[in-house]
């Protein structure tokens, strides 16, 4: 066991953790922040994406002890004072959520993307979220949501009537 300190969404947490436990498991099971999901446990699907010291990463591939002293951002910090963030609101407007299991990781990846590129092109959005699997939406409404949140969506995607 090792004592670690994590600053998660601005709050300090101190925990004694087993050295083999991942950051994902400590977040979910020992701190109780279950918004971050486990999709594969092998760094392949992106569902567990969090931002650690400003970098997005698969929290299933980081040992909690490696994160000692780090600033962590998770989905729980995305809305403030009961208000959804701009990206969350756009996801809501565009049905960019279906089952919702990839959504927390997707939001973290997009948060990082928008910090680096405040107005990403469609191609840059696609490149940015490539590492996050979504099995439900087919990504289109997620891409549109990001473009809308950054004030770039020319026309809202719509179903057409024949």
């Amino acid at each position: 066991m090792k004592r670690i300190e994590l600053t998660i969404n601005g709050d300090l947490y101190r925990r004694d953790v087993h050295e083999h436990r991942t950051l994902l498991h400590v977040l979910r099971e020992e701190i109780g922040l279950t918004g971050t999901k486990e999709g594969c446990g092998a760094g392949e699907c992106g569902a567990c994406t969090v931002i650690m010291d400003g970098l997005p990463l698969n929290s299933c591939l980081v040992l909690a002890v490696e994160a000692d002293g780090a600033e962590i951002e998770t989905v729980e910090g995305e809305s403030k004072d009961g208000e959804l963030s701009g990206v969350q609101q756009a996801f809501d407007r565009h049905h960019a959520v279906q089952c919702g299991f990839c959504t927390p990781g997707m939001l973290m990846t997009i948060k990082d993307l928008l910090r680096r590129k405040p107005k990403p092109s469609r191609a840059e959005v696609i490149e940015g979220i490539e590492g996050n699997f979504c099995r439900c939406t087919g990504y289109e409404q997620i891409i549109e949501a990001v473009l809308d949140a950054t004030g770039q969506l020319e026309e809202k995607g719509e179903i057409k009537h024949a």
Binding site: G39, G100, C134, I159
Partner: protein, 814 residues
């Protein structure tokens, strides 16, 4: 149930509406079973078989049992239960013999996941490895080993299925229409081909997970990521011989299902661990690797189609033979076989038909329901075949489809009369045709060809599907008015992402005339508290539960009007209401609010009448029949949703590499309830269909080991795999018995996408591909006119297909 309200007067139905569950999911606050922890909860791990077929000689569990923190270890021989959806053929843990790679052999519950894993690793299993039977056609050989020698002793659903004891055939579905032999004699052309596809994994982002507490007095509570709470309870109670009232199934949010979480899964195994651990709740979360092999997959199919066509291009006869690879257990595969059997001809009129569809046991992970329920697989063959037939007889493939399409007055394969309101396949085909500019290249497309050196190909395919369900499929909705005049609906149709709950909220608001904000749908399903629903499968939820929701709203209003009439001393026929109150139409100031009526109306002096307002809506499928087991004739279809995909691809003829430039997906949904939700289903399903078409599939070695149970080796589409342009188009031919005219569309978007790709690639390059997926190397080989090389079972010819056309023309050479 068609509500004859002009579209202009609809306030919520057909209008863009955010999902009612989105905010909860966006904030990470939605609870899934994988998030749940209970006091005293133990964690389970499973020991799985490394062999496809082996005799279990000995299982040594002592070291595992002695490990501190281990609370229960179970093996198959101590369990006297068998589970099965339609054929009761599966033990909870393998007994005496393992029948597929990844099958559960032993399980452990312990204080932590780490201890459970360590204990599972300490269990030693001694196997006598046997030669597996891997391909369904091999399994039909006389000397093939029997996967289930005791097939004749198993219970099964006799009304629908026909197992053949002494063989590996778990079910044979037959359909006979007209006189195909005579019609083939009259045909100008006879064209026969075989099409194949491998097993595929559903890949819900949340793997299967269950927590079970086997409490005192055999009171069992199951929290599960299940699609079908009541069917799960029913199968569980049958397996454990428990009264239904003893078992409670709770389903919170579910991280995707796609059919893989229908029926029953890991729950019985977790239950026996809990029982053995003295009633502590036990949680089992499947690892991603187990999701591929412990849990079921989509069945492999070999589909042989022989079509007889007249001189002018009319289909006269079709013989359809399906070899469905069930894997080690029958599960849903027998019903996939049945449902695919009766719609095997697609949305086309086939006057003389013969279908033989076999479900065949092999030593592989077992097949189950997967979005489309067999229709993705057989439409791959059928819609490739339609193109190949058309080309062989010198007709444009789209014209050939339109000429043979089902229309008013046609009869389906099962003898059902197609009516004008059934839906309009030709309108779907035409919309797809226009959306991709079928048959020509635009100037921009020509310039693109010139600039890239790639060839552009286009295709349009058709599709159909009806819900595969028993004729007595039923559901109910209970609507309760809250003290403030808002309403809460409960139902056990699980919304694991489709958005049906939002659509149902829209319909309830519409029928009540209430603002949408006043309608809540309780997300968590609970068999102790909520009314029955058969299962959340088959694209039947919107129609059946939508109807039940409308009936519940009407019942609630009727009950409210009864009390209001007394309170207002008025006749019911003079009353009307808005979102706040019931009032007398000609004296609107004489009114009583819903808030006053919600728990019972109280007169000024304290006398009270009524009581809490509740509305109940019950709905059962109307007029369906079992199918005759010899001829397949009858009425199985609640509704038919027709659809079409138009596709544009560009291919490098030298390398086989291709890009999907555009997919336009069209569905006759009857009535769009929630435009963005329909679009989400259309695009999401289409991309899942492209996954199936381009890269997904199980790869085995010759011993039956699954070689690619991970996302590294079994790719699924990422954002980069989205076509450059996607379009979703609706056709609205109202479903007479659908809520506001709607019919289901959850599965259809995935169907026939692979065939559209195959046809477009052929149109661009001439490559004749008859197996999927279509990887670049497969396209390259087919362009080179080499035999497609199959590596779906390595170093063997399994699953490969014939690329030489088998076309005969009466009285002449082809």
């Amino acid at each position: 149930m068609l509500e004859r309200i002009p579209a202009a007067e609809l306030r919520y139905v057909g209008k863009r509406t955010p999902r009612i569950d989105a905010k909860e999911k966006l904030t990470g606050q939605a609870t899934y079973v994988s998030d749940m922890v209970m006091a005293g909860m133990l964690y389970a791990r499973v020991k799985t078989s490394p062999h496809a077929r082996a005799r279990i000689v000995k299982i040594e569990t002592e070291a595992a049992r002695k490990l501190p923190g281990v609370r229960a270890v179970v093996i198959g021989e101590e369990l006297d239960y068998r589970v099965g959806l339609y054929v009761v053929d599966k033990a909870i843990l393998a007994k005496n013999e393992v029948r597929h790679y990844g099958e559960a052999v032993a399980a452990v519950a312990a204080d932590s996941i780490e201890i459970a894993q360590q204990a599972a690793d300490l269990i030693e299993v001694v196997y006598e490895v046997l030669t597996p039977v891997l391909h369904p056609l091999d399994a039909l050989e006389d000397d093939a080993p029997l996967v289930h020698p005791n097939l004749g002793e198993y219970d099964y659903m006799e009304a629908a299925f026909t197992p053949k004891p002494g063989t590996n055939i778990a079910n044979h579905t037959k359909l006979r229409k007209g006189d195909p032999e005579a019609a083939f004699e009259q045909a100008e052309w006879t064209i026969e081909r075989e099409y194949t596809n491998p097993s595929v994994q559903h890949v819900p982002m949340e793997t299967h997970v269950a927590i079970v507490k086997w409490g005192y007095g055999d009171q069992v509570t199951i929290w599960s990521s299940a699609q079908s709470p009541f069917t799960l309870r029913n199968l569980f109670c049958t397996a454990f011989r428990l009264p239904h009232r003893n078992v409670r199934v709770v389903v919170p949010h579910v991280g995707g299902g796609f059919g893989g979480k229908a029926g029953i899964g890991i729950e019985p195994l977790v239950a026996v661990l809990s029982k053995k651990a003295g009633g502590a709740p036990v949680k089992l979360t499947a690892t991603r690797e187990q999701e591929f092999s412990l849990l079921p997959c989509r069945s492999q199919l070999t589909y042989r189609i022989k079509t007889g066509v007249s001189k002018d291009g009319k289909i006269l006869a079709q013989q359809m033979t399906m070899y469905w690879d069930s894997g080690a257990y029958a599960d849903y595969a027998v019903n996939v076989t049945r449902a695919s059997g009766y719609s095997a001809g697609g949305p086309y009129e086939i006057p003389n038909a013969r279908v033989d569809a076999y479900t065949i046991y092999t030593n592989k992970p077992f097949g189950t329901a997967y979005r489309g329920f067999g229709h993705v697989e057989f439409h791959w063959g059928l819609e490739r075949h339609m193109d190949l037939v058309a080309k062989a007889i010198g007709m444009d493939p789209l014209e050939f489809r339109k000429y043979n399409a089902l229309r008013e007055g046609s009869t389906s394969l099962t003898g059902e009369k197609i009516r004008a309101h059934t839906g309009n396949i030709n309108k779907c085909l035409e919309a797809a045709e226009n959306a991709v500019g079928y048959g020509t290249l635009s100037d921009a497309e020509r310039q693109r060809e010139a600039a890239t050196g790639m060839k552009i190909g286009k295709a349009v395919v058709g599709l159909h599907k009806a819900p595969a369900m028993p004729p007595f499929t039923a559901t109910a909705v209970i609507l309760r008015m809250n003290e403030d005049g808002s309403v809460t609906a409960t139902l056990t149709l699980t919304d694991y992402g489709q958005g049906t709950y939002t659509s149902i909220a829209q319909m309830i608001a519409e029928r009540l005339g209430f603002p949408l904000e006043k309608v809540k749908i309780a997300f968590e399903s609970d068999t102790d508290h909520d009314p029955y629903d058969w299962q959340t499968v088959a694209s039947k939820g919107l129609l059946l539960s939508g109807n039940a929701a409308i009936l519940a709203a009407e019942d609630l209003l009727k009950n409210a009007y009864d009390v209001a009439a007394q309170a207002l001393r008025a006749q019911i026929c003079d009353l009307d209401h808005d979102g706040e109150k019931i009032f007398v139409r000609h004296h609107p100031e004489s009114a009583v609010s819903f808030r006053q009526l919600a728990i019972g109306y109280c007169y000024p002096n304290g006398n009270s009448i009524g009581g809490p307002l509740i509305g109940v809506g019950r709905y059962i499928a109307q007029g369906l029949t079992h199918l005759d087991k010899e001829t397949g004739q009858g009425l199985p279809a609640l509704d038919w949703t027709y659809g079409a995909h138009g596709m544009i691809v560009e291919v490098d003829k030298h390398t086989g590499e291709y890009n999907v430039l555009k997919v336009a997906s069209v569905f006759d949904v009857g009535k769009v309830i929630n435009p963005d939700a329909v679009r989400g289903q259309a695009i999401g399903g289409m991309l899942q269909g492209l996954g199936t078409a381009t890269c997904e599939g199980y790869i085995y070695d010759e011993q039956g080991h699954l070689l690619n149970p991970s996302f590294t080796d079994n790719k699924i589409p990422t954002a980069k795999d989205l076509p450059l342009e996607v379009e979703a188009i609706s056709v609205e031919t109202p479903q007479v018995d659908g809520p506001y005219g709607a019919r289901g569309v959850g599965e259809h978007s995935m169907i026939a996408v692979a065939a559209a790709l195959g046809n477009a690639l052929q149109n661009a390059t001439g490559a004749q591909i008859t197996h999927m997926p279509l990887r670049f190397e497969d396209v390259w080989r087919a362009i080179q006119r080499r035999e497609p090389v199959d590596n779906w079972i390595t170093k063997s010819p399994y699953g490969s297909c014939k690329s030489a056309p088998e076309i005969q023309r009466h009285g002449g050479e082809c």
